[in-house]
Every structure is written in structure tokens, then in C-alpha cells.
């Protein structure tokens, strides 16, 4: 088996999920200048709601495809509502407060959501209720499963849809204008509050998708799964250049690749001293390097602005 190719495949799958979450971070940061540290928790809630729905419907007589679609839909809607409420209740009152206030609120919100999830779903891992018999396909000495293909396809489609929305539509133009200057956008007739809500709702929908994907991929969900995932996706967003949506996608994929290649080779590189369970250090190693050498990220602001 070709380990290198296999790690590339694994990395792309992981990276697509990071990219979806990173898009949410970057979009909100771009428009509000806020790092929504509770975004990872939205991913977790999405996974949990989907699992709960699957469990509740598993014994019903509905066809399996309908059950899955219904669960995804409900999870996405719940997350969108959560994103909307989060902004409206927790961040909007702090719109003009010093930057530290919404940041601390975000961290607090993250803890609150985790604890609510812990009360609702317990401390144990929640198992994915459906047996997924993913067919493996062999390509050039490596293998890729149906589920992995599906994750990459859905993530790509979602990211492309978001980028098209932001760059090709009237709403997207208003979002980019708002990202640059709230007051001037308001002068153009843009309702800035609506635009900010849209950013949260869209980001949360992507987060829900990512949550479901990761739960299906690992077959597990946990109330604390959003914390590390969120932090890594944030790293991906910073790596790509936070505020830049294309950068979030690039950063996500790159981070997934770095992690999985790193995990694949760390044992060989350190002579067996460090094993693949040290996978998580790569993300934060990358974060540190980016912050030192290229704080604006790979695709960060490079626009010349004349006075």
C-alpha cells in the first residue's frame, strides 16, 4: 500500500472538513472583526442533533435515505438558528464595545454550549447509529471509501457555492462592502445587521455540514469535539489569511494534508520516539510558524491602497 498517497487522501478528507469550518470563522471575522470561538461548538451541536435525529428515526419505517436527509436538514436548521441567535443575543449588544468583550463572550459561549451538550447527551462518546458499509475503492496502491469521496464532494460543492455567493451575487457584494466599512455600506442602503446575521447563518450551516461529516467519518461524536476542531479550523483560517474565504479553503486543505502527512511520518522521522497520536501538534506548530513569519496568512490582504 502506498502510504504517501493514502495520507494525501486522508489529509484531503480531513482538510475539506477543516475548510468548511474555517470558512465560517473567516466570514464572520471578515465582516465583524470578531473571532467567534464558539463556532467549533456549532459544529458539535450539528453533529449531536444529526445523531439524535438518526437515533430517533432509526426504528421508524421510513426509508433510510429519507431518514438521513431529514436528520441533515434538521441539524442544519438548528445550527443556523443557533448561529443567528448567538449573534443577536450575545454579540450584537457588544457591537461597539472594546474588542476584548465579544472575544471573552465567545469563549464563555463556547463553554456554555459544551456544558449544555454534556447535560443533554452525556459525557460518553455518542456512537453514530447507522452502520455505514462504505465500499473501498483501490487507486494506485491506496484506498478511498465512498464516504470519503462523499465528504470531499459535499465540502467542495458547499465551498464553491459560498464563494460564488460572495463574489457573484448582489448579497455577496453587500457582504464584501460591509466587511470593508459598515457605515459606508449603510449609506448605500445596506442593512448591516441583516448582512451580519447572514454571515452567521451561512457559517453555521457549513459548520453543521462539517459536524455531520466528522461524526460519520469517525462514527462518534462527543460534547467536547468542537473545541479542538474549532481551534484547528481557526488555525486553518489564519494560515490562509483570516477574512479571506479562498484562503480559508486553501488553509483548511493544507492543514489537513500537513496533519495527515505529519502523523504518517512522525514515527519514522523521530525513530519511533513520537507516534501518530501526536498528530495534533502539527496544527499548532503551523499556527505558531504562520504567526511568526506571515501573520497575514498565505492569501491575506495584499491590496495596495492609495489614500
Amino acid at each position: 500500500m502506498d502510504i504517501f498517497l493514502q495520507q494525501i487522501i486522508n489529509g484531503l478528507v480531513l482538510g475539506s472538513i477543516y475548510a468548511l469550518v474555517a470558512l465560517g470563522y473567516s466570514m464572520v471575522y471578515g465582516i465583524l472583526g470578531l473571532i467567534n470561538f464558539a463556532h467549533g461548538e456549532v459544529v458539535m451541536i450539528g453533529a449531536m442533533i444529526a445523531l439524535a435525529m438518526l437515533q430517533a428515526l432509526a426504528s421508524s419505517s421510513m426509508p433510510i435515505a429519507v431518514i438521513i436527509l431529514l436528520s441533515l436538514l434538521v441539524a442544519a436548521l438548528v445550527c443556523m438558528a443557533l448561529g443567528y441567535a448567538m449573534e443577536k443575543v450575545c454579540y450584537r449588544p457588544l457591537r461597539n464595545a472594546p474588542r476584548l468583550a465579544p472575544l471573552i463572550t465567545a469563549i464563555g459561549l463556547s463553554i456554555v454550549l459544551q456544558n449544555i451538550a454534556m447535560i443533554a447527551w452525556g459525557r460518553q462518546f455518542v456512537a453514530f447509529p447507522l452502520q455505514i458499509h462504505a465500499t473501498q475503492h483501490a487507486i494506485a496502491g491506496a484506498s478511498i471509501s465512498d464516504l470519503q469521496i462523499l465528504i470531499i464532494l459535499v465540502a467542495t460543492a458547499s465551498a464553491v457555492a459560498l464563494l460564488l455567493l460572495v463574489h457573484k451575487t448582489r448579497l455577496g457584494r453587500a457582504m464584501r462592502a460591509t466587511a470593508q466599512d459598515h457605515r459606508i455600506a449603510g449609506l448605500m442602503g445596506v442593512n448591516v445587521n441583516t448582512i451580519i446575521s447572514v454571515a452567521f447563518v451561512l457559517g453555521s450551516a457549513l459548520a453543521a455540514a462539517a459536524g455531520i461529516m466528522i461524526a460519520a467519518y469517525y462514527g462518534l461524536a462527543h460534547y467536547s469535539m468542537g473545541a479542538l476542531l474549532g481551534l484547528k479550523a481557526f488555525t486553518a483560517a489564519v494560515l490562509g489569511g483570516i477574512g479571506n474565504l479562498g484562503g480559508a479553503v486553501v488553509g483548511g486543505l493544507l492543514l489537513g494534508l500537513i496533519e495527515s502527512l505529519g502523523a504518517g511520518y512522525i514515527g519514522a522521522l523521530t525513530g519511533g520516539f513520537l507516534g501518530s497520536h501526536y498528530q495534533d501538534i502539527f496544527a499548532f506548530f503551523v499556527l505558531i510558524l504562520v504567526l511568526i513569519f506571515r501573520p497575514s496568512g498565505l492569501l491575506g490582504e495584499r491590496v495596495a491602497e492609495r489614500a
Binding site: 464584501r176 455600506a185 449603510g186 449609506l187 442602503g189 445596506v190 492609495r306 489614500a307
Partner: protein, 235 residues
């Protein structure tokens, strides 16, 4: 009948009264200059008119009270500000900036016709319409800011210091444009430090000083008034 009427308009920033109870009006189709030195309260007055800051007193527009309405609603009524420092979206293309100007409008054919009109009015913008607006020179940015405001088909255009930081040739070009826009029937309130230039193209003028309106007269009379000459025209 006046299109806009401000009554006892006051603006304060945490205890500092920037505008202390001013009254003025603008009739439909007029070009009115609001002149005065730095810190006289001109920009604060404009910001109050377009809903960017909270104000006390009353602002009537076409008979309706619009005091403290958010700016995104006032655009739909036809009140548009070209802000001081131009406020273009530097990371959007020139074309996208113009689209933002037309954000409150929905009739595509009319918008397309206005695009052609703007590019006729400002051929320099047409040539560079796919470029990011941040790459334009100061004068070109001012043109873009005015063109963007016109894209909303304003009924009342508020201009804040359009000559600021521009080369004399460019200032002339901008003022010729303002006059042309006014001739088309758009009501304009022009805030300027360059009093002579502003009064020369205006119908009437108000002179502001320390948050109050000191003088109000026809532009011609203000240009000839010894008070204005001494204080603002440097004669």
C-alpha cells in the same frame, strides 16, 4: 416648498455641542452651500441629515419627519451622502462600487442605463472599471464616490468636502460635475471649506461658525459680503 427642513437641529458628542440648534432649509432643485472653518459643525450637520449620528431637533424631508432614521432607510427616500474622505470600497472593483450605489434600486434596465451615463460622465472610470477602486488616484476616487452616489438616483445629494486633498485641476473638474448634476434637477447640499469655489456654483449659502449658522443669504450676496470676505475668502 422646501424639500428639506431642519429645525433646532443639535448634535453633541458626549457633552461637546458640535451643532447648537441650527435651522435651515433647502428647496427642491437648489444647490446650497454650507461653508465655514474647520470644526464649525458642517460635517456633523451632514451626518445628522443622513442618519449617521444621533441628533436632537427635527428634520423634515418632503414633509415627513426623518429625524434619527437609520441611513440605510434614508437611501430609499433619496438622501445620499458622499462622505468626507470619499469612502469608496477600495477592495471592490470600480464597477462593483457603482453597483453598491445602486443597491437600493431594483430595475435592472434603468440601472444599466445609469452605468452608461456614469461612464459617459467619467470616462476615466469606464477605462478602469474592472480594477480595484483602491488603485485609483485621489481625484478618481472622488469621481467614483460621486458617481456611486448618483447611481442611487438621489433626490437630495449631500456632498462633504469634495475638494479635499485634490489638485486644482481636479477640483475644477469635480465642481463642474457638481454644477452639471445640479442642472439636471438634483437638489444638493454642498459642504466646503473652499468657500469661494462653493459659493460660485451655488444658489444660496449658509455660513457656520462654532456650531451655529451665522449668515444665510444668496450665494452672490455672501460672495460680496465683507464679513465672509474677511473670514473665509482671505480678502
Amino acid at each position: 416648498m422646501s424639500l428639506l427642513q431642519a429645525q433646532q437641529l443639535k448634535v453633541s458628542y458626549g457633552g461637546i455641542n458640535a451643532v447648537k440648534s441650527v435651522d435651515f432649509h433647502i428647496s427642491k432643485g437648489e444647490l446650497v452651500a454650507l461653508i465655514g472653518a474647520n470644526g464649525a459643525g458642517k460635517t456633523s450637520t451632514l451626518k445628522a441629515l443622513c442618519g449617521m449620528i444621533k441628533a436632537k431637533g427635527n428634520i423634515f424631508y418632503g414633509g415627513a419627519d426623518i429625524t434619527n432614521q437609520p441611513s440605510c432607510k434614508l437611501v430609499n427616500l433619496g438622501i445620499v451622502l458622499v462622505p468626507e474622505g470619499r469612502g469608496i470600497f477600495s477592495r471592490l472593483s470600480i464597477e462593483e462600487n457603482l453597483h453598491m450605489g445602486a443597491y437600493s434600486r431594483h430595475k435592472r434596465r434603468e440601472i444599466r442605463a445609469d452605468f452608461i451615463k456614469m461612464y459617459d460622465l467619467f470616462p476615466r472610470l469606464a477605462k478602469r472599471r474592472k480594477q480595484l477602486a483602491g488603485t485609483l488616484s485621489g481625484g478618481e476616487q472622488q469621481m467614483l464616490a460621486i458617481a456611486r452616489a448618483l447611481m442611487s438616483r438621489p433626490r437630495l445629494l449631500l456632498l462633504d468636502e469634495p475638494s479635499m486633498g485634490l489638485a486644482p485641476l481636479m477640483v475644477n473638474k469635480i465642481f463642474t460635475t457638481i454644477k452639471a448634476v445640479s442642472a439636471e434637477g438634483v437638489t444638493i447640499l454642498l459642504v466646503e471649506q473652499n468657500a469661494k469655489l462653493a459659493l460660485e456654483i451655488s444658489h444660496r449659502g449658509y455660513v457656520m461658525e462654532s456650531g451655529t449658522i451665522m449668515l444665510s443669504d444668496s450665494a452672490q450676496n455672501l460672495l460680496n459680503s465683507t464679513q465672509v470676505k474677511q473670514a473665509y475668502l482671505g480678502e
